[in-house]
Amino acid sequence: MNLFLDALNFLFDPANLAGSNGILSRLVDHLWYTGLSMAVAVVIGIPLGLLVGHTGRGRNAVVAVSSAARALPTLGLIFLIILYTGLGVGPLIVVLVILAVPPLLAGAYSGLEAVNRQTIDAARAIGMTEWQILLKVEMPLAMPLIFGGIRSATLQVIATATIAGYVGLTGLGRFLIEGLALRDYKLALAGAILVIALALCVDAILALAQRLVVPHGVARGLTRHTDESAAPTPRQHGRVSPAPSNP
């Protein structure tokens, strides 16, 4: 408990806030790595997931590749890349993108797959084009799962961006690594608390965004299959993200 208090003392000491090694500057770096990787990952993962989900083609390949990507050990990957490129932000971003794409992809295509086929057929029947179906029917209905993927990926990226501190970069991981190298538990714990707090804050913001973006009817679960026997998938709407968004 003492250790915990020491860590909190460290965090609330204004002297540790500013400066090039202060909490603020490292927080900004951490957010920068996270934001940049998530932006790249979203640009890759979401359209690909939507494509696969909409057309139903290439699904098995995408599942196989993304589960293989999950098995890739982040640490080995970043060391491998650094041997070729030297230190820098590049290797870190590559590794974080590889980490973030599988949940984004899974969120997008499973979101589309969970949409009731009858709904899509109805949309087609009233004369919607494929683009309209995707943008106006499938995507809004799939939003909870897409957001689930985004939130899950963001959490992982924030937690994993701590390794930046190992490869000559900064970020909140530096507190952890300094604490570890110097056996200063207070510092390591303070670093851990910062990362967790950041993850929770960002997740809360995303939850809020989700509430704004997801149509009310979808969020309230009104899109449940009318077909009673199709139990499993729609029930999970809004529950796939790490924090309960929709109790």
Binding site: I82, L87, G168, I177, A181, L182, R183
Partner: protein, 317 residues
């Protein structure tokens, strides 16, 4: 439990191999029953002939651990290895709580770690001062090897020429324009940030933490000009390969660093010392540098094989 008990084939023949196998099987069985990792009671080594040898997070330390370990294994000890333990701040507590029994250490840094105010800087003075500093910690060192591997501040030959750099003190006038890359610990070590300032007046530079013990990341940053000064160990082959310039240390800020086996006092025995001291006596700086070069050569032999080869060449196996 389940740790590997490596037995090494001594040249003396099958009898010894058989005996060693039988011993290690017995020890493995005994080990399974006695080493519950969650039981704090198992902190003290129950069996003095079972030794866990740790090593630090770089190849040289691991080769040295294998050299000491294989000698013990060939003489009836059961040896476990725990390589890749980070910094001194990690393995000294690990030695004290019994996670490991022994680790190859470097004398000067060890003394400064135990006693930050220590002023000894020659090999002899350090060796003389160590026992007193170690005693309250429950730790002991065996005889130190002649081999030295100290931290050194290196620059590229171009940078040295452009700024007329010969000694560390020459960095002082240009300090505000340079970035120094080293492991995180450098900031708090006596020979690190504080020593640079108080002894050589080098202050105001930017510090970049690169936690790879002067490895490829540090080197590539130095060669790319992202850092101008790097902390790299003197026995690292990359210094010679890239013609890096080691800045001289006329004030002996960086203390002598002889290889020395550091162990928990509870595993010390005269027999252990009698086995390992002759090994240390044969370890020279050139020998260690040669081992490091082989380790980095194209075949990339494992530390285990390098150690076996060295021990065989030197008549210990």
């Amino acid at each position: 439990m389940f740790t590997q008990h490596r037995t090494f084939t001594p040249r003396r023949g099958r009898l010894v191999l058989g005996a060693a196998l039988a011993l290690s099987v017995t020890a493995a069985l005994a080990g399974c029953s006695s080493s519950d990792p969650l039981d704090p009671g198992s902190a003290a080594p129950a069996d003095p002939t079972t030794i866990t040898i740790g090593s630090q997070g770089f190849a040289e330390s691991e080769i040295l651990a294998q050299i000491y370990g294989q000698v013990l294994a060939a003489n009836g000890y059961t040896v476990d290895y725990n390589p890749g333990i980070g910094s001194r701040e990690a393995f000294v507590p690990g030695l004290k709580d019994g996670s490991i029994d022994m680790i190859p250490e470097y004398s000067g840094n060890l003394l400064q770690f135990l006693d930050p105010s220590a002023s000894a800087s020659s090999s002899e003075d350090i060796e003389a001062a160590l026992p007193a500093a170690l005693e309250p910690e429950g730790l002991t060192v065996l005889d130190a090897a002649p081999a030295e591997d100290a931290d050194s501040l290196v620059v590229t030959p171009e940078f040295a020429a452009a700024n007329n750099l010969v000694t560390i003190a020459d960095l002082a006038p240009i300090a505000s324009t340079i970035t120094l890359g080293a492991n995180t610990e450098f900031q708090t070590r006596p020979y690190g940030q504080s020593g640079l300032e108080s002894v050589y007046g080098v202050t105001g530079y930017t510090f970049k933490a690169i936690d790879d013990f002067g490895g490829p990341g540090t080197l590539s940053d130095l060669l790319a000009g992202n850092i101008q000064v790097a902390d790299i160990y003197t026995t690292t082959p990359s210094i010679k390969q890239n013609n890096l310039v080691i800045l001289e240390d006329p004030e002996n800020l960086i203390a002598a660093q002889n290889v020395v086996p550091l162990l928990n006092t509870s595993v010390y025995s005269d027999e252990l010392a009698a086995l390992l001291n002759p090994v240390s006596a044969k370890l020279t700086t050139e020998g260690v540098l040669d081992l490091n070069e082989k380790s980095n050569s194209d075949a990339k032999p494992s530390p285990e094989k390098l150690a076996t080869e060295w021990l065989t060449t030197n008549g210990f196996l």
